[in-house]
């Protein structure tokens, strides 16, 4: 294999710095002891992290986001497992349409989904409801789950299931003891990527959250448009930390390059 020359490596270093700089500066500024956004030149302090934990709005929004992400990821997986089984294993009228419908939130801008949901919630009188917010998040995370599940289901050897059937196992037993364990990496990987996407979502949520259901990204957006102090940096650093944990888990369970780049 040919090696990269010095010019290529220099270019590469610049790109890496460009990609990491905004995240690194956020994490550094979060530890500033000063009252203004500045790099911590006189030692490190945890005062802004403490401020976050004593800020009731941010704490409330954090729990909202966490519950929202856990519920929508779990329910999306629960709907996506049977749906992707139907799409990969059966030939039925409307199969192509359903497949396109389930993946459509990937090409509909979240902004458009946001205004559309706002309109629907106004019509059915669901504005500000947490349950409907969960349903809206299920819609945007389901395509990510479906993609992984369809890959997992089409890539497995069905003769194992046939063997279980011929030995007298029931449908339910085969699904629980054979099918589910075999697609488990797809299920857990799908759940994690759904969790991350729901936890991060801003553009749709900003239209459909009410003061009591405001999520963390929406709270941060509102806060950042009014005032900027190092507390924003501390919240951001916490989010980067949570995302990093989720990314490492995802990498362990499924392989990050497989999720982001696709099957090879």
């Amino acid at each position: 294999m040919t090696r990269n020359g010095p010019v290529a490596l220099f270019f590469h270093a610049l790109v890496v710095i460009f990609m990491l700089a905004p995240l690194v500066i956020v994490c550094l500024v979060a530890f500033t002891p000063e009252n203004t956004l500045s790099l911590p030149t006189r030692g490190f302090s945890l005062r802004w992290f403490e401020a976050v934990f004593h800020h009731p709005d941010f704490v409330q929004s954090f729990w909202n986001s966490l519950w929202l992400a856990v519920l929508s990821a779990t329910l999306a997986v629960a709907l996506a497992v049977p749906a992707s089984l139907a799409i990969t294993r059966y030939e039925f009228p409307g199969r192509g349409f359903l497949n396109a419908l389930f993946l459509s939130p990937l090409i509909i801008p979240h902004l458009v989904l946001g205004v559309a949901m706002l309109r629907l919630f106004a019509v059915v009188g669901a504005a500000g409801s947490f349950g409907w917010l969960v349903a809206a998040h299920m819609v945007i995370v389901t395509p990510y789950v479906m993609r992984l599940l369809i890959a997992a289901i089409s890539g497995f050897d069905r003769s194992v299931e046939q063997a279980a059937f011929s030995l007298g196992a029931s449908e339910a037993t085969v699904f629980r003891r054979v099918t589910l364990p075999m697609i488990l990496p797809g299920v857990t990987g799908g759940w994690l990527i759904a969790f991350i996407n729901s936890f991060d979502e801003l553009t749709m949520s900003i239209f459909i959250t009410s003061p009591s259901t405001v999520t963390l990204p929406v709270r941060m957006y509102m806060y950042a448009t009014e005032s900027i102090d190092p507390m924003m940096a501390a919240v951001s650093a916490l989010i980067i930390g949570i995302t990093a944990v989720a990314v490492l888990l995802l990498d362990r369970v499924y392989g990050l390059d497989r999720i982001l780049v696709g099957q090879q």
């Binding site: 956020v26 049977p82 349903a135 936890f199 950042a224």
Partner: protein, 301 residues
Amino acid sequence: MSTTLPDAAPASPGGETPERRFPSAPLFLSGPAALLFAALVLTPLFLTALLSFNQFDYATGRTGGFTLEHYLAVVTDEYYLEIFLRTFRISALATAICVVIGVPEAYILSRMSNPWRSIFLLVILAPLLVSVVVRAFGWSMLLGPEGPVNGALIALGIGRMKLLYSEGTVVVALVHVMLPFMVIPVWTSLQKLDPAVEQAALSFGASRATAIVRVVAPQILPGILSGSLIVFGLSASAFAIPGLLGGRRLKMVATVVYDQYLSDLNWPMGAAVAVILLAANLIIMLTYHRMVEGHYRRRLG
């Protein structure tokens, strides 16, 4: 598959799969998800399309009736024309820069050997999973009046510059957010490329540049095209970046829709802009789909 075959055939051992016993199984399996998507994708989009044709009364805030005035406003009103033009200009610029940075970067990554390749792929792609609000905030600190970029400018004797709330800042931050979407498809098409072909070109005396332009580039062109369309589509509908880094003056399509809905409360106008944005996105994606399919058909035919 034999979902419609009657059950009359004698059951061969192990051949009796669930599909054959329950021809209605796919309905039950996909039913719940289909209901969710009908209720929360198709219905709201339909309602929004209807809403965009409603009249809006500024005095009472009531909507109703039928009018095309919102769509006419978009194509005639200077305010909207300027915003659509600006959105187009910023997205096109961000896409071009993503090509210029992302394509060579994907090529460099593909020529690295592990573990560096996996590590740097992770470094380039993982920011995709960090909330866009955090990344926008990072840029506002980097480019702020007291930020390190201005510090460097002062140290170089250029002096402090007002970087925030300019088109340039929005473009830079968009490139940061979109770059992974360019690297991924180019990387994928580079993976399919046989390195022996490039080697062959080199061994026949082609220069490195010729080998890249004549051998590598044509094969990764579909990847570049795919990345460009994704980046352009996502940039044109980006909300957080112009919202946080563009300030009050520098509106893009998404921030205007937000204003219409939550400040002016003119929902029909906002709905019309949203419908146009959706239509433009779908046209771009479907054109791409056509082009790629045509490309493969030509290659196979």
